[in-house]
């Protein structure tokens, strides 16, 4: 699809939810914001999380990860699509934004937020299959942009879980990136938070970075 075509998200999602239902082998997936108690994909997630936690425990780490390695890889790709590397500085992947998101969601006491992340990632995969005919992690940068653009262009439709997920993804990516070393020092080239002998004003040259 061309990234410039306007998308009727509500019209489109009927199709891609159908596609994804077939793809995932499930008969029905929730059409509204309501989250099904246990959809096949969710039980899959539960198994994966369980599996991951066993793997982590085997490595001797105390805290189990919330996202499966596959979900983590998706978050890396999605956050990098929100804030990509460019000629000026590294992007969200280099800034390890996915690790920041993992920690935030793992430690969250908000079950709805946790459920939204699981649901959102599942819907992203369905959308990727629908629009690009392939898994999100196997998509090109342009293909991933095309998927997120559908949500960004319909950002006001917060009744839809994938739109709410987009807002959450963007918000945590921004938070994680601009509180990282890469975000603060490489991208923004922030000059403060150090000892100054004299205040800096309009006509003063900025003191050299220490």
């Amino acid at each position: 699809m061309s990234t410039n075509d306007p998308v009727d998200l509500k019209q489109d999602r009927r199709q891609w939810l159908k596609t994804s239902a077939t793809f995932l082998g499930a008969a029905v997936l929730p059409l509204s914001g309501a989250i099904a108690e246990t959809s096949p994909a969710e039980s899959q997630t539960v198994q994966s999380v369980h599996g991951a936690s066993q793997a982590v425990a085997a490595e001797g780490t105390s805290s189990a990860r919330f996202f499966t390695p596959a979900q983590h890889a998706m978050i890396e790709e999605l956050s990098e699509t929100i804030i990509p590397a460019d000629s000026h500085s590294g992007g969200a992947k280099a800034a390890k934004v996915a690790d920041f998101i993992e920690q935030r969601i793992r430690e969250s006491v908000d079950d709805q937020q946790k459920a939204l992340w699981r649901e959102g990632l599942r819907l992203m995969e369905s959308m990727s299959q629908h629009y690009n005919g392939k898994s999100l992690v196997d998509s090109s940068a342009e293909e991933k942009i095309a998927v997120l653009k559908v949500l960004s262009d319909n950002a006001q439709m917060t009744e839809l879980p994938e739109v709410r997920f987009f807002h959450e993804l963007k918000s945590l990516t921004v938070r994680g990136y601009y509180t990282s070393k890469i975000g603060i020092h490489d991208d923004l080239e922030y000059k403060g938070n150090r000892i100054l002998m004299e205040f800096v004003g309009c006509d003063d040259p900025t003191p050299p970075t220490t």
């Binding site: 699509t81 929100i82 804030i83 990509p84 460019d86 000026h88 992007g91 920041f100 935030r104 430690e107 969250s108 006491v109 908000d110 942009i145 997120l148 960004s152 950002a155 963007k170 921004v174 938070r175 994680g176 601009y178 509180t179 990282s180 070393k181 603060i184 991208d187 923004l188 080239e189 922030y190 000059k191 403060g192 938070n193 150090r194 000892i195 100054l196 002998m197 004299e198 205040f199 800096v200 004003g201 309009c202 003063d204 900025t206 003191p207």
Partner: protein, 585 residues
Amino acid sequence: MAEQEADLTKKYDALIIGSGAAGGMAAHVLTTHGLQVLLLEAGKKLDIEKELRSMQWPYDNAHRGALPPDSHSLSFNEYTIRRPPYGPGFEKSKNLYSYIGNSDYTKNIVVNERENPYTGTNYAWVRARCLGGKTNIWGRLALRLSDYDFKAKDRDGYGENWPISYSDIAPYYDKVDLYLGITGVKENLPYLPDSIFQRPTKLNCAEVTLQQGLKKMGRVLTQYRAGVTTDGLKHNKYRSRCYGRGACERKGGCDIHAAFDSPTGLIYPAMDTGNLTLRTNSTVREITVDPTTGKASGVHFTDSQTMKDYTVRGKVVIVAASTLESARLLLLSKSRLYPNGLANSSGHVGHNFCEHVMGPGVAGQAKDLVGKPSTLDDGRPGGFYLARFRNLAQQHPNFIRGYGFEGGSGSSMFPPGTDRPGFGASFKEEIRQNQGSYIGMGAFGEVLARYENYVDLDPVVKDKWGIPALRFHYKFGENEHNMVKDMKETAQEMVEAAGFKIIYVNDRVLTEGWSIHELGTARMGNDPKTSVLNQFQQSHDVKNLFVVDGSAFVNASCQNPTWTIMALCWRSCDYLADQLAKNEL
């Protein structure tokens, strides 16, 4: 300083309740006069440098500076939708904090709302129960009031005049300036008197542009007048001068104490006199009264942690628990002699409650700064203050009193404008290119003191220590709503006139209490029938009882109150020491 164990069998010259700006100042002044003082603080003594960590980078913090996910701080929407007490509905959060407690650096300074409930109308009540109280994290804007405030009734006929004039308090403002340090620039404005300033901070380019634009309109933008020592204080070994380290915009205090806080500015030096005993974790429940003389005899308090009850005696009792807590304590101190609460024969305790209304503001952009390299703009305790301009020479048709703006411009550690739509390469580049080009300001306006705005004791709800909770009966009125409308319009007009592109105009009024400038619940006055305290913050009813915090204010002015609280307190404590020496108390 050497901390002494509190001897509760001894009768102290003075008992001080509360260790914030007022309590700390009372301790400083009275110990300097040689009085034996016991300072009681409800909260604990924090290892404050470990809390503040002013120079910590976000990526070195376990939660990037945010509150841990198991805790929650109330948001604007929650204050608006939910009614106090704000406990139920947040069961999943281990700790519930006021909106100021939304960072890892402030969470242990503010109270857990669950332990400290209040009821009634919505009010964003921020409380800091720890040594130094809210001075540990205050905004530091340190302004003087003038006779435009003290004699406001003479100008517009509303309310009451203060029982003092500017000339009475001016020498004490000078003392506060010199003892604690303040940065700013002299402007010679009769309605915003100058302090004795240390080295000023500098305005950045967008701020200079706005200042020049305003000058053409006859309005004054000046460097942020901060209660921060920029040159250092030779007489205080606990505080460093300001080194412009630039975490000042982050909510939280200053871990080198260049910004004034009560412990290092006032309490530790007072302990060094050998005359001050400090007892933290001491929640005062009642001021006790001698039934034969009718005078205050001491206080009854509970150890906040062990829950054990104690009493202690004093020749004088000084209430400095913060405006609303002080009113609460007077109302709690009921006895056969004083059935309406202590110092309340007028019925005015808890009434005439006022503060500053906040919310309206504007953000503009300097087009010529877009795409420029980032600059060092946050290495200073504040940006600018735009002095009041309404109701000075002419009377506005729709409202009385005034408002000022606080604002700033420039690059910051976390970039502005991340809520822009979109994502991807252009989103990232726009944030970077625009980061230093914005200028913003928000208004603080006087809320009229009204008898109808008041607090009393809730008949049912009690706090963790079994003490009746405070109940709010408080709303903004028509004058505030008309003022808010004008704030929004003038903010836009001024920023536009200076040549900036308007990015957004905010007309949302923040929840009552947001300014954390609550004032006036035990006002001063010459008439004991309509006021609680005389001009020396001494109770009309009980002459060895003083209330030295913001509750004594007759009106809120639109200028931030901390410097006035401390100047008034110093004046009252000089009087107190003199009267005690003459056996008049």
